[in-house]
Symmetry: C2
Subunit: 637 residues, 2 copies
């Protein structure tokens, strides 16, 4: 099947392709009980693009005379589409028009494809989230989604009407199988699996009890994030076993702004065992021999491996841990693919970033080089008076290792010119206003902002180039990022990765990329600091942990709040990982937690103006999924 | 009742208050059929604050021995609360604890108050959006919202479980009246009033048909925006008349980030006639003599006026018009109140902005002066080489008129220092990269970014100060705003006001503020331009309309897309207002529409990093309500 995928990609690139040989060789191995899982990457609202892709996939399925080919949820429209369909109903008309064109291309092989349907019942939301079943040049059947998620990154109920549920509507014949169709969320309602089910009824349960299907087919567009694969695997395995019915799960790939899709389409047999799995983070024409009553002789099924580690930790993590290993390859691939898709789909090709010799910018540089190619990355080292020699040489070594473009330019002249102007301004403001700070952050920020000005300047001067914001999740929680400075950019690759995980990721990159140890050891060993100000106590650049708190402690607070929703009192009773190696008083602990909550309050504004960044973690402050009014006063009891 | 409101506000400020006289005078005028509408402003999640306010209001209602006092939807928690309750359930526990405390304060006077309730049914969303009925120290009854809006700025279904609807649950006795309680959206489902109802059932209709209440009481938290008052008035009038049942509508005031509430609580009689209305944009303890079967002798009811114009245009506008008059006072008050609440509730007191002598910054300066007091506004004029003498003197005159702090500082030194550094950088980048633009925007943007650096510097240097982003809606649609430049700030007052409306607002300000003509006539008469670049054709600063298209045409495209969802083809068939005075070819029209769509695509990123700004218009691109993936390719047919 890799062969077909390769040929399809050549066709999509407009290359001439000779399909005969492949078809001839594969035909004896497939039959009416073979289906193709079209694990594809749509472009949101680019209906022609999605249509053309679907067309080529369908032609292959036709020529192989398969039982069916199954596309992800909403593929023809692209997912997530958000408010576009509310404002531009003509795009929905276009997806209907192209659905009808697709129907014309079909023969005996059934096509299951997600699209956006007008609600013709004149009550409720204007659209349905639907799957069309196409066969013999006709739209044979339409299945409409009933369970509509509205939580974290999902907002289905905002755009779609929940369809009335009728189990008989969900049944189609594929080969010798009676297949039941469900759409994404509809598989996530098992009352035995979930302790607190969100929905009052379980479509899968109702279908199985009343229709006794041979197989369940799920069309999904399900984003990846930490712990998701484990949950998905456990859930699908549980449900197929419970109902003694195989489940086929078809997922999309590709990324849209903050959201990335894993792919990893798969099939579980009636005992809950995984019997086939497509690749992760890649498009694939995946052939599946359905587990039928009469098993096929020529079983084509393959199980492609998941990103390393994901299959090793199939249970939800119950305590904070610094062992990030089981999620590092997925984290890496999620970010790489997010960068690549954001650039490619939006017509950019090059990135420019500031390298400081610190951890954040170093990891970003590696990720960008891998996502875009090293020649498409430009790293600028922009030392100020505070920048140490080591920082400069570390940054340079990193760039040389990666083979990315590198240039060093001191920002002193810009900073000095600003200083003069600023002093004049401030002295004047002081004539009218009191409340001048005795230790303001002004000069720290001028450095960060001058750097961002240079990066945005390069983006203004050279086509297809965007600057990169290098802020990480721990520092965003603390508001330890400069507005119009390091948090400014066209994309923020690591904004959902905490500092302790970033250290682990850096070590993982050094160990697992073809090119070993691209990140100089000195960068991994130094304690993080913004190098924007001198610590009066040490006479050296202020370290972040001295300004904030130990990252290990900070990241555990974040983890406890995001995953366990703990209050201050609850956290005070817990034994933090940091305490295993460090003695701290309860007073110290209390102060750190208070500091955290206080700083979050002032960080909320910064979260609201962060550029797009991939959601990576199980929970995040990414604005696509977490919305807290800035004007709110939470008292943390 | 103004007297009571004044005394309450004194009590809230901790002042000693003698209530006896007022109570004694009012008591003969009120009875069990009198209710108080508590038109109040909560602070989201500051439960103690909301409790304390409620307490004082309740004490007054108790002492007057009223039938009931009614608070807005979710008042105890604060609205909108968004994802906070998902992440911090302990805040919800706190609001329950304080609800119980409030109950203890009650006597015979019933208290209706919105709060967030845990869903104890263990299925579905974790919370209900509920109204508690408190009386004689007990929680007598709880009413749970069934119709949960998820569209534009509303996301109820994301956080709340839709409650099973039972009409009998909605009935309580108040004095001699059988009152039915509905919550906000539940009044917006009449199938005769709305052509395309969103909901399949109408709670009001069901209650009236089965319970025959004497009166309907609606607890709301309903944001203000253009056309909303007209729709609300028509709808409430229609529904009360249709069901021959009076409706009491209680709304909150105050603003939260992007959302502002009108107040204007009111009562319609059984013929659909308005018989009482509270003030707009102000807290008020509003006494209402309910329209009962036996009318009270002492009818207390007052009808406070709406912002001027709102009552004159009670029908939906069907065509684009430059007659903004009926919405200008509301626009002004919405923005003023949004600025004031954002500053006050977040602990800021002062604003700093750049004044260019252009329309946007001039209108912002007036709005800030009125919202914060002129001494709390600092205007900095930051001319570059391109800035004309007139711009400088116009800016100065404006500031002098307003009495706001003013200082002029040329940015030449900063720009020159940047230029030197930039040239060195660019020449180096060019060694590795092609694609250097021949006419880049770099130098234009350096000016805008240097200015923003100065403003953020003042904010870093002086306590309680935030810089203001002056971008307007027309220019944001076109992406005609500089990242980290004029679109950067802590708050953006006019980001949802189009340019043609801004001109109207400026003239309205000059005519209607106590101080007339604060904005110099020259500013109103000049054609807008950013003064960042010279037009090679004229040798003068480039005018925005020459770079974009005539604002009148641009604003009509925006209006047609936001309100009518028109396609390019549809717009080409329409007769634009601009064409009444200007002959243009169809080719020109087509080019402008194409330019619009093309520029929107690149503006999407800018929308995503805009600071908080009040929603003013009927439809907007404010991220609280409009979400379009940046990575999306809309083809406008």
């Amino acid at each position: 099947m890799n062969e077909i995928t390769t040929l399809i990609n050549m066709e999509l690139n407009g290359e001439a392709v000779d399909k005969k040989e492949t078809i001839k060789r594969l035909k004896p191995l497939v039959n009416k009980d073979t289906i193709a899982l079209a694990q594809v990457d749509p472009v949101v609202c680019d209906i022609e693009h999605n249509f053309n892709k679907a067309k080529i996939y369908i032609e292959w399925a036709n020529e192989l005379k398969l039982g069916a080919i199954v596309f992800p949820e909403l593929f023809l429209m692209g997912y997530p589409v958000f408010d576009i369909i509310d404002r531009f109903p003509n795009i929905v008309e276009k997806n209907i028009e192209y659905l009808e064109k697709l129907a014309k291309l079909t023969g005996n092989t059934k096509v299951l494809i997600g699209f956006c349907e007008f609600n013709r019942f004149y009550i409720g939301k204007r659209y349905f989230n639907s799957v069309a079943v196409l066969q013999n040049k006709k739209i044979e059947k339409i299945i409409r989604k009933t369970l509509l998620p509205v939580y974290s990154e999902f907002n289905d109920a905002r755009y779609f009407q929940s369809a009335e549920f009728n189990p008989t509507d969900r049944i189609i014949e594929i080969g010798s199988n009676k297949a039941a169709i469900v759409i994404c969320e509809e598989n996530w309602a098992d009352k035995d699996f979930f302790e607190t089910p969100v929905y009052s009824f379980d479509p899968v349960d109702e279908i199985v009890k009343t229709q006794h299907p041979d197989i369940i087919i799920n069309c999904s567009s399900s984003p990846t994030r930490a712990k998701k694969e484990q949950l998905l695997n456990n859930m699908l395995s549980f449900v197929s076993k419970k109902h003694k019915t195989p489940i086929v799960y078809v997922n999309q790939v590709g990324a849209v702004d903050n959201i990335s899709f894993l792919g990893s389409s798969r099939c579980y047999d009636e005992k809950g065992k995984i019997i086939a799995r497509a690749k992760s983070f890649e498009e694939q024409f995946f052939l599946l021999s359905m587990p039928t009553k009469k098993p096929t002789k020529n079983n084509l099924n393959q199980i492609f491996s998941l990103p390393s580690g994901l299959d090793k930790s199939l249970n939800e993590q119950k305590a904070f841990s610094l062992d990030y290993e089981p999620d590092l390859e997925r984290t890496y691939l999620t970010i790489i693919n997010s960068i690549r898709d954001y650039f490619k789909k939006n017509g950019f090709k090059r990135a420019v970033l500031g390298v400081s010799g610190g951890l954040d910018s170093s990891v970003c540089a590696v990720l960008l080089a891998d996502a875009l190619g090293n020649k498409n990355v430009y790293a600028v080292s922009m030392p100020s008076k505070i920048t140490s020699k080591e920082s400069k040489s570390d940054a340079k070594e990193l760039c040389e290792n990666l083979g990315i473009n590198y240039f060093e330019i001191p920002i002193n002249e810009m900073v000095e010119a600003s200083k003069n102007t600023f002093n004049e301004v401030f002295n004047n403001v002081e004539k009218s206003w009191d409340g001048r700070y005795t230790a303001p952050l002004t000069m720290d920020n001028i450095q960060a902002r001058s750097r961002a000005m240079i990066l945005w300047g390069i983006s203004n001067e050279f086509s297809g180039t965007i600057p990169i914001a290098t802020s990480d999740k721990s520092e965003l929680y603390m508001g330890y990022a400069t507005i119009n400075g390091d948090m400014s950019g066209g994309f923020a690759p690591i904004a959902d990765v905490t500092k302790t995980k970033l250290f682990a990721l850096a070590r993982w990159l050094n160990a697992n990329r073809i090119q070993k140890n691209a990140i100089p050891r000195a960068i991994l060993n130094k304690r993080p600091g913004a190098e924007l100000a001198i610590d009066p106590k040490t006479g050296k650049p202020l370290l972040a942990e001295d300004a904030l708190m130990p990252y290990e402690f900070l990241d555990e607070i974040i983890w406890r709040i995001e995953n366990l929703h703990q209050t201050k009192d609850e956290m005070l009773k817990e034994w933090f990982l940091y305490e295993q190696k460090n003695q701290i008083t309860n007073k110290q602990k209390s102060e750190w937690i208070d500091k955290f909550h206080k700083r979050v309050q002032t960080a909320l504004f910064k979260w609201s103006i962060m550029p797009p960044s991939p959601i990576v973690d199980a929970r995040s402050i990414n604005k696509t999924e977490y919305n807290q009014p800035i004007t709110s006063k939470i008292k943390f009891y």
